[in-house]
Amino acid sequence: MASPEDLSGQPAPLYEARKGVYPKAVNGPFRRFKWAIMAVTLAIYYATPWIRWDRGPYAPDQAVLVDLANRRFYMFQIEIWPHEFYYVAGLLIMAGIGLFLVTSAVGRAWCGYACPQTVWTDLFQHVDRLVDGDRNAQVRLANGPWTFEKIAKRGTKYLIYLVIAFWTGGAWIMYFADAPTLTVDFWTGQAAPVAYGTVAVLTATTFILGGFMREQVCIYMCPWPRIQTAMMDEKSLLVTYKDWRGEPRGSVKKAQAHPGAFGDCIDCNQCVAVCPTGIDIRQGPQIGCITCALCIDACDGVMAQVGRPRGLIDYCTLDDAAAEKAGGTARPVRKKLLRPRTLIYFGVWTAIGAAMLFSLGQRTRLDLAVQHERSPLYVQLSDGHVRNNYTLKLRNMETRPRRVAVTIGGLPGAAIWTDGGAREGSGQRIEIMLDADSVTRVKLFVAAPGKGPARQDFSIETRGLDGDPRGDSDIIQFDRPEAGQ
């Protein structure tokens, strides 16, 4: 019964405790690149709501503002109304295709450098090192008893986590209201309940996901690694342990004793020690590898110390790996990046961006929508004329009040007036004042002679009377009683 594969009645557990990850500090070009990305992304996140942008007296002066209450989205000189939401959809499509482009070219670069989970985990791991010390000290402390020192250090660490988490949650709400006002309101208890709720939820998620879940978010929870795995091909860059060069592993002494018997890997385990997701890159590509390239920095440092060429662990495509294994050389980076797939992604990405910019430049900021009242469709007037009622929705999307004219065409003998006016003295043209940055609803009465087709199309037009004559028009139906009714 006792075969070597028999686990002898010891059922393997169906659940496993998290294996602690205590990444060692490392320095090198990729680490410095990660520092730079972290600085830029965090600065964008925390500082953007505080940038001011003067739009005159009728609009907020916050450069980036999602004004949910008034249904406006401001981004520097661009103002987006709800009916223009396709611009936001376009941005999301660009973001999606941008990720395809990045993934097909440089693999999981998003995961390794720019994903918020990565950036905040990285930040929290620096806090760990600041409070507990580097890897070995962290392991000792984690395995040690609960002494006063451990309690003090854990308390300090969690407090710093909490401050960062709270700051993160607090920065989020600044995008949805005037940041200076909201800050004062928040601390004086005047802010909306949803603001406190949002800060509480985001503080909790940042604290838990950044402080404790960390790599488990990538490994167990995030769909993106699975999708990216499907989007990568043999020409995408991967962080690769070049086993054809490194195996068999052996220490420097062994290699000196038996020249030629060992590869370049000295089995120092530094690549494992620095990994923020706690994997061993030497086992090959795996879902836990976010391609942050810190193992490349670690390995390059060791190779320099033992006097061997860098790049035992390096960015490498599957094609290049096969070529190098067969004794060839890697293709130049330019050729790796410029291939039909990346060019098509880039082409689509730029085309969408250019189309959006073009239509942004072309859009008019005075818009007319006409709705024909259907109950009743027409009203018989006592002098034999027929009246139809319409609701005009005049959108003035400029941040200034405007005076506009509304005229009709193609309906002979007709007269128009609004619910504030009167039929007496009415003609084919009215003038309306529009408030800045708002929708004005006007009930429009149109009376025309009773003799005529039962259904007739005519046009309602609006145009500015204050310098900019551009406007909008709509074709709409005029109804009369059918003959014999």
Binding site: E5, L7, Q10, L14, Y15, Y220, D419, G420, A422
Partner: protein, 308 residues
């Protein structure tokens, strides 16, 4: 579990759980332990929910839960909150004389909206969703022809006291005689009167019949409908010279009306609605397109300024 044969799978290096079905084995890829704890947490959550909120279906209704929450209670709260929100506007409307409303565009707009809401509850059954009425039954409120007057005060009086309410003194009332049924006019005479009415409404050319009808009209109809058929709003007598006919302007319809008039009725609303609501209803009906300026000078000078 002890008889399960767990072994290391060669291809993956992972232990199997020990189950085997016709040679197919399951690899043991352990779930993270916190996953198990979230599962336990959902059970605790579920138990707490059952205690706090309505949960177990019983014979007549579900258990109530110790918080006493119900969606009906939520609705009642929201309705009360909204009534509180509307209170200042409604009070302001109640405190403003009806004739002064059009001079205060914001208040007028609020009154029209409030009236529209009340109209949808109390008036659409007869007058229709848009106030267009029903031909041969109920008059349109959207046109420029009024039986009892189309200025704000007249509309308010009509809504307040109704038309031909038997139990109400102040109600608007009048009775057109049934000229045919009661034998006041014979059939030929009625035909002549109809000819005359169709002449003054420019539907027929003058004829011998209409000439005879003119004299009959003078004797029987002019007292209410006016000498030229221009109508009389004191008694709700419709104008007979225009293009609007509640019960039809063709020969047959007119003959039927003169034979046996309908004398339509409308309930009074002062015993069901508060004065502010009636005021708002009047403003709404006034705004439908046929509102008359009446005597209120406040309504003048308010042009098409875009303030709805």
């Amino acid at each position: 579990m002890a008889d399960l044969k767990q072994r290391i799978d060669e291809a993956t290096g992972t232990s199997t759980v020990g189950h085997e079905w016709d040679g197919i084995e399951e690899l043991n890829t352990p779930l993270p332990r916190w996953w198990l704890w979230t599962f336990y947490a959902t059970i605790v959550w579920g138990l707490a929910y059952v205690v706090l909120y309505p949960a177990w279906p019983m014979v007549n209704r579900a258990t109530e839960g110790v918080l006493g929450w119900s969606s009906r209670g939520d609705l009642a709260k929201e309705m009360a909150a909204d009534a509180k929100r509307r209170a200042p506007t409604v009070n302001a409307i109640a405190a403003t004389a009806l004739a002064d409303l059009p001079a205060k565009p914001e208040l007028m707009q609020a009154a029209v909206q409030g009236g529209a809401a009340a109209f949808r509850v109390h008036c659409v059954q007869c007058h229709g969703a848009g106030g267009a009425g029903v031909k041969n039954l109920y008059p349109s409120l959207t046109d420029d022809d009024w039986l009892w007057g189309g200025d704000l005060a007249s509309i308010e009086y009509t809504v307040t006291h109704g038309i031909r309410n038997p139990d109400h003194k102040a109600t608007r009332t009048s009775l057109m005689p049934a000229f045919g049924r009661d034998g006041i006019l014979d059939a030929a005479q009625i035909g002549d009167v109809v000819s005359f009415v169709r002449t003054i409404s420019r539907q027929e050319k003058a004829s011998a019949s209409s000439a005879r009808g003119a004299a009959l009209f003078e004797a029987n109809c002019a007292v209410c409908h006016g000498a030229g058929g221009e109508g009389g709003r004191q008694v709700g007598a419709p104008r007979l010279t225009d293009a609007i006919w509640l019960y039809g302007g063709d020969r047959d319809s007119l003959t039927a009306t003169v034979n046996q008039p309908r004398n339509g009725v409308m309930p009074r609303w002062n015993n069901r609605l508060d004065p502010a609501t009636i005021k708002m209803l009047s403003a709404y009906v006034y705004s439908l397109g046929g509102g008359e300026k009446g005597l209120a000078p406040a309504a003048e000078g308010q042009g098409a300024d875009g303030q709805p």
